[in-house]
Symmetry: C2
Subunit: 419 residues, 2 copies
């Protein structure tokens, strides 16, 4: 597929998505929820075909030498299909943001002005190997009244097509347009380029994947992007931290799952914290590699020297950088200099110090006495997430249904003309 | 100034703005308001110097042959300076959005999660000939706790520098950093290019000016943009509209001021509306040129035939397109096909028809029985506006202080670790 063909393909899909978006924007909550429940039934009915399609993808990916980690992301089985179907039911139960009243005011002119939530319109989602994103992202877009064009990883083409067919059947079964969720089946990259250039056709692009994908989307997109960048997350253990709590949170934040964006990557220990050696020993003994500044190296001979790069690295592995800092201001200065604005936490029993930290650190999520691994839409009570936004415009942190809406101003007058 | 010099200049300004932004984000409301009131005093104290600088710009612009309309935009006088100072006092009285609690939830994990408003960070504003934007935009950025880099029109360089100096003096007088409002004095366009490319230094760019400026910013920016595009606004006069109200609103919406973005550009008259001839006659008699479809041409011989372009044109002049439509669905279909999503209105005494129109038309502002000329932050009770956003991400419609903020998630735990 050359550029012109890709542009024509996306133009056609975008036009059909716009038409579908108008219908989705007006669809009642019950109808959207019925589409999702119908899609869950379809997933179960079509399980054999979906797993066969996935087996095709797996065989091709194995032959192409994909890493075990990528193969695991690509793989579907009965348990994973069940989890995907359960997620559809969960999204169907979420409160519908469309039509929600944000606020109302009546200025001196007497026009009653309200802000009412409406869908964003047409969303493009570019993602990598996990086929469950096809359903998860499609479901969130349906429930928020949008139309979406999905472009999954080329290694998951057959799986995505089979999952997408279930979603389409769910839509049609609820008398909603199949074009509300379209999937770009072409595996070549020209289609991604055309999506990124589809200004006016696509209202917002959401990349879901590794750094290279997000960086390409941010660099090339002519369409607004809701992006998820690095989570170089810090935990600052203050002088007044309870040592047992600090140790439990730090080990959990680093090692519960090392590959998630909410994992702690740098540990900052206050120089007045009473038990620094026990804290680093707990991490080291649990299998974590530590790279530290001079003062932390003195705590344990297993701590290697940190280079400048360590303070900005998102390891996504059982590795952490560790530094001793002299007080809360030094901690927040370190985070301001090296952090990525994702999730940062303080452990302290001193509420005043905690409040100052929470106010000063300019990150999407700031936590007091809790593990950074809670950075997740489900854990935040949003029911799901389409990603964690690290930009500053529109939505910040975990993005779920509300983040897929905008608002309009609705004004009721009685014949007002402007003087 | 070549590209490298411009890049270095903006990198330096951006770095200083980031430092200032951290201070502004923590500044109490009273301190920010004091800076604005101090700047208003400075404007009055420096009036002679400011008007002299403006006279220099005016002489240069006159010699360069600028149009009378552009010269009028550039011109300052005592009355206009007073109005600018009054605007500073008005912004100083607005509610401070920073620190506002948006919502709070406590999910099953027991972490108390709140969304709290915080400033966007570093804002870039690129504008054209009106020097008052230097103060208006600077004031809104200060009051919302941001830092801003202003780049005004090259023809207003001396005026902008003089106005900017008053704002800086106001900041310093309130112990706030002068770098919170910086102005790019270099008149050449390389500085604009560097601003557009300043990804990571500038959090959001706001273009304020004509179509060519906004289009350039949207095409070239590597930074998120909050843009104001066309206002191709419609008024649909429904069959059940009160004729006196319809006539008053339509004439006001088109002719009160023809150059504003809220002006009506297309009039849609329902084929069942009882007095279409009187409606078009009122516009024609008031000096408006009308371009209509076949059925409207039959109403009055002064109505010229409309071409396809007329349905999408923002005239910003005493010209309107006019069409007869068969019912509300035809009206909303016309708006969906040709509108720009800015401001559209319905005139009707039938509330059910009005509600359907307001729900169906996907524009930033939808109005019932009111003139489209109310599309304005001041009229909406926002106290001011930095622009009217026609995009769908972040803010939509009039943007004032709240639109210059984002939020962060603040979580209070009691030692939670994730299972």
């Amino acid at each position: 597929m050359d550029t012109a063909e890709a542009t024509a393909l996306i133009a056609d899909m975008g036009t059909r998505a716009r038409t579908a978006a108008r219908i989705m924007a007006a669809a009642p909550t019950a109808q959207k929820a019925a589409a999702l429940r119908g899609a869950a039934d379809q997933l179960r009915d079509r399980a054999v075909a979906i797993l066969a399609a996935n087996a095709t993808d797996m065989a091709r990916a194995t032959a192409a030498g994909l890493s075990p980690a990528l193969l695991d992301r690509l793989r579907l089985d009965d348990a994973r299909l069940d989890a995907i179907a359960d997620a559809l039911h969960a999204v169907a139960l979420l409160p519908d943001p469309v039509g929600q009243l944000i606020d109302t005011r009546t200025p001196d002119n007497g026009i009653v002005l309200s802000r009412v939530r409406v869908p964003l319109g047409v969303i493009g989602i570019v993602y990598e190997s996990r086929p469950n994103v096809t359903i998860d992202a499609g479901a969130l877009c349906i429930m928020s009244g949008n139309a979406v064009i999905l472009r999954g990883g080329s290694e998951a083409t057959a799986s995505n097509a089979a999952l997408h067919a279930a979603l389409t059947a769910g839509l049609l079964g609820a008398d909603l347009p199949a074009d509300a969720v379209q999937h770009v089946d072409q595996p070549d990259r020209a289609a991604v380029g055309a999506l990124l250039a589809a200004n006016g056709l696509i209202d917002v692009l959401i990349p879901r994947g590794g750094k290279a994908l997000v960086a390409r989307v941010q660099a090339d997109a002519r369409v607004p992007v809701l992006a998820h960048l690095d989570g170089n997350n810090h935990i600052y253990v203050h002088a007044a931290a309870d040592p047992a709590m600090a140790q439990a949170i730090v080990v959990n934040a680093k090692l519960r799952r090392t590959g998630v964006c909410g994992a702690m990557e740098t540990l900052l220990i206050d120089s007045a914290y009473p038990e620094p050696a026990a804290l680093v020993t707990a991490l080291l003994d649990a299998g974590c590699t530590l790279r530290g500044d001079d003062r932390t190296q003195a705590l344990d001979p297993r701590i290697a020297p940190a280079t400048a790069d360590d303070w900005t690295t998102e390891y996504l592995d059982a590795i952490a950088a560790v530094a001793i800092v002299d007080g809360p201001d030094a901690a927040t200065a370190h985070i301001a200099a090296h952090g990525s604005g994702h999730t940062d936490a303080i452990i302290t029993a001193d509420d005043a110090v905690a409040e100052r930290f929470l106010a000063t650190v300019d990150s999407a999520i700031v936590l007091h006495n809790a593990s950074t691994q809670f950075a997740d839409g489900g854990e935040f009570g949003l029911g799901a997430e389409i990603g964690i936004a690290t930009g500053r415009l529109h939505a910040r942190g975990p993005v779920a249904l509300e983040g897929l809406t905008t608002y309009k101003w609705v004004g009721h007058g009685t014949g007002q003309v402007r003087a």
